[in-house]
Structure formats: structure tokens, C-alpha cells
Amino acid sequence: MEAVTRQTRGFSFVELGIAILILALTIVPILDLLQGGVKGTAQSLYLSRAFQAARSVADSIYSCPWSSLDDATVKTLASKIEVPDGCSRPRVDSIQLITSSLPNGSVLETKVATIRVGWVKTEGKDKTGEVVLTAAVSLAR
């Protein structure tokens, strides 16, 4: 029986090794890229969900009269928001009042509410992030 030689195989093991190496060098980064892309897409999904939750809180804050906007009210508003999968319940920092005096004597009082919604999952791995959205409701006098 004739020994199997490079001539009979058509390629040498060295060539095969080099080819596999080339293939690996090509595919591995591509796969990593692919994985990163998938992860990013999933991340953007949770981010979007978190953002939408935060924006829902912001919208409800904007619909609230300036005079009745206080910490208790915004907390109540935040608690009524349906929490999407993978997101934490929205939290609202204490309202900050910014007073701006304008040249002609009018005063703008702005209540600033910072809304925070965390997202917790990416591709099955635990990872946390936070969407921070700021609502500013003003009253001019």
C-alpha cells in the first residue's frame, strides 16, 4: 500500500496548520465582533426600555402643575410606572429648585427632577447600567 504523501493528500500538515491559523485569525475577531454586536443590540434594547420608563416618569412630571410638584408627588408618579423587564423601578432624586432672576424683573423658578432607571441584564450576564433623565418644570412670575 502506497504511503499517503502530500502528493496523494494534496496538502501538507504544515499547510493545513497555517490554513487553520489563518481561518482562526479571521473568524475569531469576526465572531467577537458579532458577539459584541449582539450584546450591544441587547444592551440598547434594555437601555431603551429603561429610557422609556424614565421618559414616562418625565412626561408625568411635565403634566403635573408646578405648584403641586414636590418629592412626594414625583415619587408617587414614579411608582405608578410599569417597570419593563430588565429594568429597575424608576427613582427620582429630591427636587432641586433653581431660581433665575431676569433683567426686567421677572423670576423663573424651575423644579428639576432627576429620574434614574437601572437596567440589569445583558445576554444573560448580570450587568448593570443606569439611564438618567432630567425633567425641568418652570414657572415664571
Binding site: 502530500r6 479571521t26 432641586q96
Partner: protein
Amino acid sequence: MFIRPRSMTFGRPGFIYVVVLIISFVIVIGISTYFTSMRQGRLLAYRSLHGDYAAVLAKAGLSMSQACLAEASRDPSSPIYKALVQPLETYMASGRARIDVGPRIDLSSMFSNIVDRISTDLPRGRSSVAELSAQFYIVPSQLVPLPALTVGPAKVINRSGGEKMGRIFVECTATVSFHAFDTRVSRTLAGFYEFRVVHCPIPILSDFTLFVRESAGLFNTVEAGDTGLQNGGQPAVVLGNGAKELQSRTADMLNLESLKKQGWVYLGGQNEIVLNLTYSMDETASPSQVGEDFHFYQQNPSSLAAGRAVVDPAQKVLANRHLPNPFWEVRNWDMGVNLLKDGALKAQYEEVFRGTSSGYRLGSQLKLLGAPPERVSPTLVFGPVSAGFFRIVAAAPANPANSSFDAYFSVLKDPASPSDPAKNFARDYYDELQPYLGKLLYLYDPYKSGKYMYYDTSVLGGLLEYAKGTAKSDYLKLCAGFRTRNYNQALLHLKTRNEIPNPLSHAREFGIPESLFTDPPTSPNRSTLPAALLPSAWADLGDLDLSKLNLKDMVEPLRRAACWTVPKSMSTESYLIAERRLSGEELDLGTMICSDSPLTLPALTKVRRGGIILAPSITLQGAVPAADRGILVLVAYQGTIQLPQAPVHASLVATNGAVVANGPLDVTGNIVAQRLDLGTSGGSSPGKLDYDAAKLKNRSFEIGPSGQVSDTFVIDFSRRVTRIQ
């Protein structure tokens, strides 16, 4: 059988590489395509997310933009203010077209502290916000006039000038950029604010210094003694109806244009109203001179008809018609008051009043006329009014000329009531008392003599008997007591420098309707508004019968024009405080408020901005200073307006009640009321009601050639923006 392995035709050197490369290429292409599509998807998602960030920012910008309106409402020179007070008709042609108002406003620089704060948590902080700006615009089809005011039968004031209500739109654009090389993402949101533009002086009503439907008796009577006005008596009121000027200059002020800028006076109602107003030769500006500032001028020696002693040919004919040869000359003096203690004629006064009490010497009856010259300003009086400059008419021998001077002193002491000639002592008891009449009149009964005194120059205080003087019928006719001239006619006398006995014919020269000057003052025409004095926009109100103007009918349209309504659960003061319009002794109104609860306004030390407050009744507890901007209009639509013993700068309107002075009236502005109750404890000072010409003269809205607009508009708007898609 040996089978020779078939030689592989593809077994060329490097074949494997080709295969690997092909596979790699296919994989790379495939995965890259997949990755790219995913990346595009993510980018779209992020772009959408960033757009949402921008939208939230724009929403904050929409909310902040109200400050631009608040600022503009305080600045008549701002483009927004100017645009909003433009007459409606200027917009009507544009229909539904959008009209930008002013330039785009950079909110991020205007409110940098707020933008800094709300951008803190963005990926690049403040740098993430590339733009936050607002553009205001109006759509003419979204503007409507304020409710029309019905002021009389078929007389309606369409408030379509600068006044209006509607929506002002705002478009807010926010642009964010979360990475230095990222494409910027913008979002534009639009919304509108409801707004109202109200002209604070209420149409028509603000044209009057004084508008009263009913008087609580004789208006402006005075109780005076030798020390001036008496405590506990009814105080006098001095009306200043516009620009104040020395008497010597007021003569030149009477023309159509100046009258349009003056306040009018309407004294309606059932009672005869005596409005006393005079001027003085001694042109001083001290308020203390009220009622004590007259200096009698006999006449100009070089021109006997000059000065205040005006020869009245018509009366002279009446006085002389029974005589074969004219003997009497009838002169008219327009009088003021003099202490009669000092002055060029002091010696004469002392001679005349020797033996009389000091009270008589003061001529207190003349004090009820009191008004120093700078308080006299041309105005027009409507209604059944005996008003004007006090006039003494005296007949005396024509020669020598100065005998009329003596006659003057004979009648000086007579304050006989023009409303009750039957009390005329001279007429009733002339026959019995004729030998002593002059003396009696002079010394004991200075309140009962007649208008014409036929004075016997040889006897101090003595009168000539009929036979020597005049026919009894003429005498009785002439003995009608003192009278005040038709006020408007007196203005003509002023205009003609008191040198023309009957200046009526000159009315036309000044462009003023003659009907305003004709006697009797109770002519029905005296209650109608002359169209010639109205701005063209209100020409339809010409001939409006003021006696038919129902103030109550104006309440509902005024209420509907209000920018804000006080919640029923709150008092008006609480509301003003809660809205930070009233803070301690400072009022910053800048709007029109309607309330169902009475208003008690504390003493104020500052009024930043005027405005209109409607309340059932109003009590002012202390002074109300002049507003820095605009004018304060207080409307009591059910009860009274109680005034303090302090100066008040306001337009006071009591549509269904009285304006009650709890001390000497001291109002700068105007008064419109069913009644003016001056009380009885006025103290020793006269009250004053000065027309605030600077604020109230804006009968017609105009933007001047250099773009100035009146600051008597208030612009207010809803504090919540309504989003539109």
C-alpha cells in the same frame, strides 16, 4: 489488483490557502454584513434614544420659554410685546399663516444655570447640548378680541384694538451631541400659551376724571371759616383734569387736540350739582393756596375791559332799558378767593370791612370755589351741572369807570343759593329794607343779597332805590344770586383771555362743538359725548348719552376679560400673596384678576406694575403709590370702594356703589362711581382728584413712529404650555 491512488488534480501547492481564504472571505462578508445591519439597527436605536433625550430637553425648553413671555410682558420695547399689542386688524389679512414674533431666543445662554443643571447627567455634560432655542410665533386665526363692552343703547365698544386674547405659539428646538464626532440629533417641539392683552384704563370710563351717576347732595359745597375749611365739614374737592398749567397759559391750551388728552367730568343724577372751580391771578403752586389765592383785579387801567372785569353788553342793555340814557354798566368778575388781608388792595379791603368780624373779612363763601391756577386745566363737563368759574356780576354807574369796583364790594358778601332764589333776601324785603339794605347786606346778612347791586357810591354799602337804578321787574329778574358760569363756556373765556364778553362764536375756531358751550347747562345735549372728541376707532360712540350708560352692564364683559379668576376657596388677598403678586407692602400685579370675594388691600409702599382687580367691594387700608409701570385699576362691581386717609394713585370704578372718602379725597387717577361720598370729616384741607393724564390719556391705541408703545397694557399668559403635535 493494485490500484494506484488517483493523483488528486487539486493537490497543487497552496490550494488549501485558497479554500481557507474563500471560506474566510465568505465568513467575513457574511458576519460583517450581519454586524453592519445590527450596528445600523443599534445606531438607529441610539439615534432614536438621543432624539428622545433631545425631546425631553426641548420639553424643558418649552417650559422655560414662558420666562421669555414674562420678560416681554414687562418690556414695551420688546418685539413680543409690540407684536402682541398690535391691533387685531393688522393680523387679519394673514389668516392662518404663521407670523414669527421676534428673533429666535437662545435658551441655553439665557438660562445657562438651568441648562447646566439638566445636562449634568448627559454623557458629555454641558457639551452634549449643542442647541436649545425657542421661536415664538402667532397665527392670526387664533386671535380674538376681548368681549365687547355694551355702554348704551346700540352703543358697543369693540375691543379689537390692542386688546385681544388667543394663543401664542412657541417652537423649541433642542440639539444634542453625545460624542465628539457623532452626528447631532435635533428635536423640535411646539406648544402654545393662552394669553390676553388688556388695556388697563377701561375704555370710555378712563376718559373721565370724575364720572358720578348720583350725587349725595350738593357736590363740592364747602364749610369754611376764618381759618379756612372747617373740621367736620364737608371737604371741597379740587379737580385737576389733565396737564396742569398756570392760568396765564391755560388759555392757550384749549383746542381740540388738547381736549382729547384731558379728562372729562360727568356729573349725572337727579340732584343739581354745583362744581366750583376757579383760578387765581396769583399764580402760585402751593396746595395750601387752595381757596385763598384770589387777588381781585379791578381792571387794567389802560384797558378797562381787560383783566377780569368784563363788560357784558347784553346785560348792560337789560339794566338800562328803562332809562332814556344808559347809566349802568354791567361787569363780570371771574372770582377766586382772597384772604383779603394782604395785597395791593389791602387798604381798600380794610375800609370795606371795617367793623366786621375777621370771618367776614375772609370771604369764606368764596372758598368753596377754591382752586389755585395750576390746578385748572381745560376739560369738558357733561351732565346737568351748574359748574364753572364763579362769576360776580355787578352793575354800577358807567362813569366813573371805577365805580364798578365799589359795586363789587357790595356784592362780595353774597353767597346766595342759586338753587333757591326764593331765599333771596334783597328781592323779598327790598321795599321794607331799601333804606338800610346795603348796610344790612353788608354787615348782617351777607347770605341773602342779589346778584346785581345797584350801588350808591355816596353811601358805603348803600344801594340805589328802584327809581334811581332800574325797573323793579328788571331788578327782580336780575336778582338771581351769584351764579357760576357754564363751565365749558368759562374755558372759552379763558381761551379768549377774558377779554370777550361772549366768546361762543370762537368755539368753532378751536374746532370744538358749539353745543358744549351753550346755555343752559342743563341742556339735554350736555349729556352726550361729542363725536369730534372721540378717536376715530370709537366714532360710533358719538352722541352716546352718558345718562343712559349703565355701569352695571359693563361688569360681565369685564369679568370675562379677566386673565385669572381667584378660586372661591381663597380670599383675594391670599390669592395675591400666593401668586406672589402681593408681598408685604409691595404690589406687582401685571395682570387682570377677577374675584368673588372682597378685596382689602393693605397700605402699599411700592406698586411695581399696575393691572386690574375686580372684586365685589374694595377697601384700601393705606396709601397706594403710583405704579412704576402701567396703571392700577380697582373695580368694585357690587359695593363700595373705601378710601384711606392717604394718597391713592389708581383708577377707581364702583359700578354699583359709591367711592367713599374717609378723609380728604386724595386721588391721582380717576373716579367712576354711582356716588361719590365725601363724608363730613374732611378736616381743614381740600381734597383733590387729579386726572392721571400720563396714564389715562391713551384713548386710542397707537404705536408711535419710533416704535414706542404704551405701557398701560398688561399682557398675561397661562403658565402651562400646551403641547401640539
